[in-house]
């Protein structure tokens, strides 16, 4: 494996198209991530069509770079404007913005950059080490295990998504229903098509993802403007000194490591994602601090730990995506869409049949982390000006990108119509406090769930007990049931609500963070 990675690294460094894809992805991802109201998921969704015309490896390298760099750069907006560029940056702003207000914006961004780089590299190392092991283990999975695994993924998503678990489950079920539209893969009987021929082939993930993560955020942005909300109110324009004193900086490796480890573990749990890991790492750091009362006033640990956690979760989220085909977070759901467009289905077989491609994911993530750090330091003083791009240019451009993105998948205007429909649905779901990510996950996991469930039942001659007589399947099923039932159990026992809400990261509330 190491040989393949080294060979791929050499290819990336010598082939301008591959290196250029990562470079361009990093630059565009950073710019999109900095822009308030443009989340990492939206960045990926609207930049996806840029990969349609290039070869699969360059395309995925570009998307990985966008994913990694936009995850980092959301913190810049959080620090300068007190508005998170991405949901995960919500925690960074707690200490980042007060530090910037003290005239230390440059130092705050440096802490965030170094934390991101450290956490990102830690996540990358763990991805490279453990993904092949998980994939090897997953090769022993048969259809009963895959059935319960998809249920497990959906249940974790419903549980971990911000907002109500009950509504999260409803959103996931709606996604699963959407996945059944069109021809049944086993009998070729059409279902739920309502006589619309364009629906016979089913609904593609891209119009849905672009609609609910892209257009819906444009609509939310427009609503904010209608409410008189301004994003350009008093941004911090002077960033001051960039590098903090060495004496202060050198002691920050501990919060960086702690945040990174939390990020990669939480990120690897299907659907848990970075928004949860940053909350855990921040509270952990505060708990361990000798001066917890200073948190919230601009302490570097409050920036380094969540940023490290945030970027480590990228490597973590790629583990279930690459090895099992289960998205780790909404961004990896869009990435799976990108892989499918290029004819690649993630899962253990990818490690068996397409090792160079797996290596290219590793290499592009590594290069993206390094390039993000270098570009951030080199262009910091200029990059902050991106915050000032006027919205009357940004919003129409993003709206056009959503149309191009949804059209280019199948060259179909019907898909554009679907995207608009899903955009409205995403907007309304956001208003109703219904998590959006389970909807996209349901559409991705639906075919896997149905195919494996029915295959299992054909093999077992209709015997359902097969799901509880196989150990892995049973364990996954128990976890899924407990995750889905936990809120009800906790309510009955009077324990109150879930800790996830401690971040205040409710999609129905925080309209600028998106998903």
């Amino acid at each position: 494996m190491i040989d393949v990675i080294m060979q791929t690294f050499h290819s990336f460094m010598t082939q301008p198209q591959l290196f250029g894809s990562v470079f361009l992805g990093v630059v565009l991802g950073m710019i999109m991530g900095i822009l308030p109201g443009i989340s990492s998921t939206m960045s990926l969704a609207v930049l996806l069509p840029l990969t349609f015309g290039v070869d699969p490896i360059a395309g995925i390298a570009f998307l990985i770079a966008v994913y990694s760099s936009s995850t980092y750069s959301g913190s810049i907006t959080a620090i300068l404007l007190n508005i998170p560029g991405t949901p995960s940056a919500i925690v960074t702003q707690i200490d980042g913005h007060p530090m910037a207000k003290k005239g230390r914006a440059g130092e705050a961004i440096t802490y965030s950059t170094l934390g991101s780089a450290g956490g990102g590299l830690l996540g990358w190392i763990i991805l490279a080490m453990f993904a092949p092991l998980v994939a090897r283990m997953a090769l022993n999975f048969r259809s009963p295990e895959y059935t319960t695994l998809t249920l497990f993924g959906l249940s974790m998503l419903a549980y971990a998504s911000p907002g109500s678990t009950f509504k999260g489950i409803m959103s996931g079920i709606l996604g699963l229903i959407l996945a059944t539209i069109g021809l049944d893969p086993l009998t070729f009987v059409s279902r739920l098509d309502f006589g619309v021929n364009d629906l016979l082939a089913g609904i593609h993930i891209i119009p849905l993802a672009v609609g609910i993560f892209g257009l819906a955020e444009v609509l939310i942005g427009l609503e904010d403007i209608g409410r008189g909300f301004r994003l350009d109110d008093a941004p911090i324009s002077r960033i001051g000194r960039i590098f903090p004193p060495w004496e202060e900086m050198k002691s920050k490796w501990r919060p960086m490591m702690r945040g990174g480890i939390i990020g990669v573990i939480v990120g690897a749990i299907p659907a848990a994602g970075s928004a949860i890991s940053v909350v855990i790492s921040y509270s952990q750091e505060k708990r361990l601090s000798r001066h917890p009362e200073l948190f919230g006033t601009g302490v570097p640990e409050g920036i380094v730990a969540p940023e490290s956690s945030n970027n480590a979760s990228v490597g973590g989220a790629l583990i279930p995506m690459m090895t099992l085909g289960i998205p780790g977070d909404p961004m990896t759901a869009v990435l799976i869409g990108g892989l499918l467009i290029h004819g690649l289905r993630p899962g253990p077989s990818l490690f068996k049949n397409n090792l160079p491609f797996v290596a290219s994911v590793y290499v592009s993530l590594f290069l993206a982390i390094v390039l993000t750090t270098l570009i951030a330091f080199a262009t910091l003083r200029y990059l902050v000006r991106v915050v000032q791009i006027p919205r009357h240019v940004l919003l129409p451009a993003v709206a056009l990108l959503t149309v191009v993105g949804s059209y280019a998948v199948n060259n179909s205007l019907f898909d554009v119509g679907l995207m608009i429909l899903f955009g409205v649905l995403g907007y309304l779901m956001n208003k109703g406090g219904i998590p959006l990510a389970p909807l996209a996950f349901g559409l991705i996991l639906g075919p896997i769930l149905e195919e494996n469930l029915r295959r299992t039942l054909v093999v077992s001659q209709g015997d359902w007990s097969v799901f509880v007589t196989r150990p892995i399947s049973l364990v996954l099923l128990i976890i899924a049931v407990v995750a889905m039932a936990y809120p009800a159990i906790a309510y009955v026992l009077g324990r109150g609500t879930r800790t996830v809400d401690a971040a205040g990261n409710d999609e129905g509330v925080d309209t600028h963070a998106g998903s």
Binding site: G53, I177, T180, V459, G462
Partner: protein, 166 residues
Amino acid sequence: MNKEHRNDIITGTVAVFLSAVGLMQLSTVEAFTWGGDVGPKFIPRLLLWTLLAMGVALVGWALARQAVAKRDAFREKDEAGPSGKTWVPYVAPVVMVVSLVVYRYLLSSLGFAWSSLLFTVLWVFLLRTMDGKKHAGRLFWIPVEAVAITGSLFLLFDKILRVPLP
């Protein structure tokens, strides 16, 4: 009615409606099963019934909470506010959706470049007007910005990346 309860009732009702429509459509599908296979209707039917049940539960739960809130005299006033202008923030999203639908139909007749130009001119104008600031030479900058947005996307996708455009 409390906003949260009202949202839950709307969400639940929509879920019930969608599942009922889906179940009706599914009942018209002729399907067969073989061996241990549960058939093509089984999974969608199971999911639709589950969604329907959850929709009913959500409505019931919201009504029950509302009743408790009333009984305890903690009834909250409608959070939408007393003014009759609560619809104002929603005008721009609605106009965006309508303009996108029109744009989608224009794409097939005018092609990408012209229809996109019309779309961006409209939105640059609307957003510049909505931000309330006085811009010198606004009428000059609107077409310039619209051409810049459309032109750069056209060049990027059509000429550089060769991604098919409508």
